[in-house]
Amino acid sequence: MIEVNGVTVAYTSLRGLRVVQNKALDDVTFSVPEGSVCGLLGTNGAGKSTLMRTMGGIFRPDSGSVSIDGRDVWDNAEAKNDIFYVGDEISWYERFTVEELKAYGRNFRASFSDEAFDRMINALELPKNQKISRLSKGMRRQAATILGVACRTKYLLLDESFDGLDPAMRRVVREMLIDEMCDNGASVVLSSHNVTEISEACDRMLLLHAGKVVESGEIDEIRYKYRRVQLVGGEENVTREMLAKAGLTVLDFAGTGSIAQAIVSGTEEEVKAGIAKLPVSLAETAPLSLEEVFIYVMRGKGYGKINTGK
């Protein structure tokens, strides 16, 4: 299990003679159980890549700890042996040919599987003797991901690894990845901006905003924590204040005349109990998709609201 406990990571910079600290991660706590596929979602600059690198033993946390099966990951060869990090920038590997990449992987991981590597390379029809720098961006990503999968570590960290792939290839690589990981019983942490991808591939997720955890847990649990409520008013129009008075936490509200639609947080029972207190003639509730959760939760944090300045 990967355990992240109260991790804070800050970037320091000099402004004149002053040292300025910008927190990229602020007291982040979550865990990735064995055998799970965990998605890392977040806004731009939320700290996803920083978190991935901290989990991969590339960054040392300023406070808190990251441990893998009880072993601190920072500068610990034994712990790192169980983890493979595929970064969002992979140009380092471009000096190799695909075949040399295999030798590179074999050099560092006793668990490296030549057979799996070859099988995946053949499946994706990547040219073996061509320098990776000469491949397309998508092919480079595929090669790096295949390297990670073939290393057969217990944990695989993929930082925006599907970016640059076309939708068809995205699906192929993802399915291949899931198959391989399932066969080995490995865990994957996958960061992406693509919410659909996360919802399809992952069973758990972590939602980050401005370095802080907004949501974490199983995807279905998170989805059912938010609901869309459609209301038709009775004698008076439904307002946001009325919903708040009824004990509902409103993330978003839109009303036209007697018809209103709101996004509220809470379980189905909690939401229904709140609605019962409202003077409405008709009420319907439905769970949100993960994408909607992302959008409305972030909007609730003040992110993504359009401000045209008018």
Binding site: I58, D75, A77, N81, E89, E100, Y104, N107, F108
Partner: protein, 488 residues
């Protein structure tokens, strides 16, 4: 079955060798070219030695630069994000990674230089035997190769510590070349030479002082660099981890050193402005995104350094005024400006300066320092009265007259006369009637005391005049005693 970390024995060195295949090949080619130039830099035609020093200089430049490029590539994780991600993610700890990198540099650069030079020199030795004559000066090539090795070792060490501390390519280049060439191969060398000399106490027993010096310094530098490197985490890539203040101080030291290296003359303002521009260029390259904010700070540092230099110069001028040089050579020779002063800690030095310098009233602050360093690493000849007492003013004038007459009567080249004066008044590095004196004439700094002596002696012996010189001096009633490093 899951394998343990011991079973999963990773090979960071193999990884380093594998990851830098192209640069390894280029470096090997460069080293081969350097070795070729080295053996070709001195040969013999009909038994006479023929030097092509430019070959040797090229050999040094190629070997050193290729090493710096290789080191830069090897420590790419200190400045390149993608290299960092790949290298930090592999299952080895920072210490192992550091040693793997050092081993990789040692193998691909230092060991390669030894091997390639050995091969080239070996081939030349065989050619000498086959030809029955000395086509290539083998001994000279070995000494030069050891010097090249010393330079490379020094440059590699300085590059490693620079990259570990600063994590920037610009800093590496400037620091490596700046500190490496100016301070590294001068100040550190001079101090270390003293250290090594006092430690081993050899005098003329071994020719390769430069290499020994760097062999002593290198572990120290690499230990410090290792301590800093191991402290780095991924966030430090491309950034200073240690010694931003030290960097500023060292930059300031380089500027001060450069200022001190020049005399106060009508060109001083040009030097000052050049240094100012250079200093800002360094700051711009290092702190590009903050260059505007750093500007007042940089100006303050520069002004402080320059004021320090001026204060130092004025102090030296005030404390030694009257003993340096005079516009009026007659006044100098009449002894009017001669004031005995304990600050001038050596009679020989003082007198060599007095007679050997162009009397143009320049304040030779910089030359004074450089000459001091040179003088620490060279032989000297004491010329005294028969009873061992030092010469007085008239006797010095007589001595110089004897030398001048001898040179003129024997049609010795003017620059040889400069060598002769340097040979006797060792460490004198200025002008005598427009003739450049000092070791700069015949030997470059950095070759070691013994190389200096050998070169200088060899040059004069080539003219086949030294015994005559010394005899002439003795005929004039002086006693010549050879001494080594008496100026301590």
């Amino acid at each position: 079955m899951e394998k343990s970390i011991r079973e999963n024995d990773v090979h960071p060195l193999r990884y380093e060798l594998q990851a830098h295949k192209t640069s390894t090949i280029l470096v090997l080619v460069a080293i081969a070219v350097a070795a070729f130039l080295n053996v070709g830099s001195r040969g013999a035609v009909n038994g006479d030695p023929t030097d092509t020093p430019v070959f040797y200089l090229f050999a040094i430049a190629i070997a050193v630069i290729s090493g710096i490029i290789l080191t830069r590539e090897t420590f790419a994780d200190t400045y390149q994000v993608t290299a960092r991600d790949a290298q930090y993610a592999i299952p080895v700890n920072a210490r192992t990674r550091y040693f793997a990198k050092l081993a990789s540099i040692l193998l691909r650069h230092i060991a390669a230089i030894i091997l390639v030079n050995a091969v080239f020199i070996g081939v030349c030795a065989v050619l000498n035997v086959c030809a029955g004559t000395e086509i290539v000066d083998i001994k000279y090539s070995v000494i030069q190769a050891s010097d090249i090795l010393g330079f490379c070792l020094g440059a590699d060490c300085l590059t490693v510590i620079t990259m570990a501390c600063t994590g920037t390519v610009a800093a590496q280049v400037i620091f490596g070349f700046g500190i490496g060439s100016v301070a590294g191969f001068y100040w550190i060398y001079a101090v270390a030479l003293e250290f090594v000399d006092s430690l081993f106490g050899f005098e003329g027993a071994f020719e390769c002082n430069g290499l020994i010096v760097w062999c002593v310094i290198a572990p120290l530098i690499l230990t410090i660099a290792g301590g800093v490197y191991i402290r780095r985490d991924g966030r430090h890539t491309g950034k200073f981890i240690a010694g931003r203040a030290a960097w500023e101080v060292l930059t300031a030291c380089v500027i001060l050193f450069m200022e001190l290296s020049f005399t106060l003359s009508e060109y001083t303002w040009l030097v000052m402005i050049s240094l100012l521009v250079g200093f800002f260029a360094v700051h711009y390259l290092l702190f590009r995104e903050k260059a505007r904010k750093e500007l007042p700070f940089a100006i303050a540092v520069y002004i402080t350094i320059t004021l320090l230099f001026l204060a130092f110069a004025l102090f030296r001028y005030a404390s030694t005024r009257g003993k340096f040089y005079s516009k009026d050579r007659n006044a100098l020779e009449s002894g009017e400006y001669w004031i005995d002063n304990e600050d001038w800690n050596n009679e020989w030095w003082r007198n060599a300066r007095r007679y050997a310098n162009e009397p143009d009233c320049e304040l030779m602050i910089g030359s004074r320092i450089l000459s001091w360093i040179d003088s620490r690493s060279s032989d000297e000849y004491h010329i005294t009265n028969a009873d061992g007492s030092l010469l007085n003013e008239e006797q010095y004038a007589k001595l110089v007259g004897v030398l001048r007459d001898f040179c003129e009567n024997n049609e010795i080249r003017k620059d040889s006369f400069g060598d002769v004066l340097a040979f006797i008044f060792c460490g004198a590095d200025s002008n005598y009637e427009g003739i450049e004196l000092g070791f700069q004439v015949t030997a470059s700094f950095g070759e070691g005391r013994n190389a200096h002596r050998e070169r200088c002696t060899g040059y004069i012996l080539y003219e086949d005049r030294v015994p005559d010189f010394l005899k002439k001096i003795e005929d004039a009633g002086f006693v010549v005693q050879r001494a080594i490093n008496t100026r301590r």
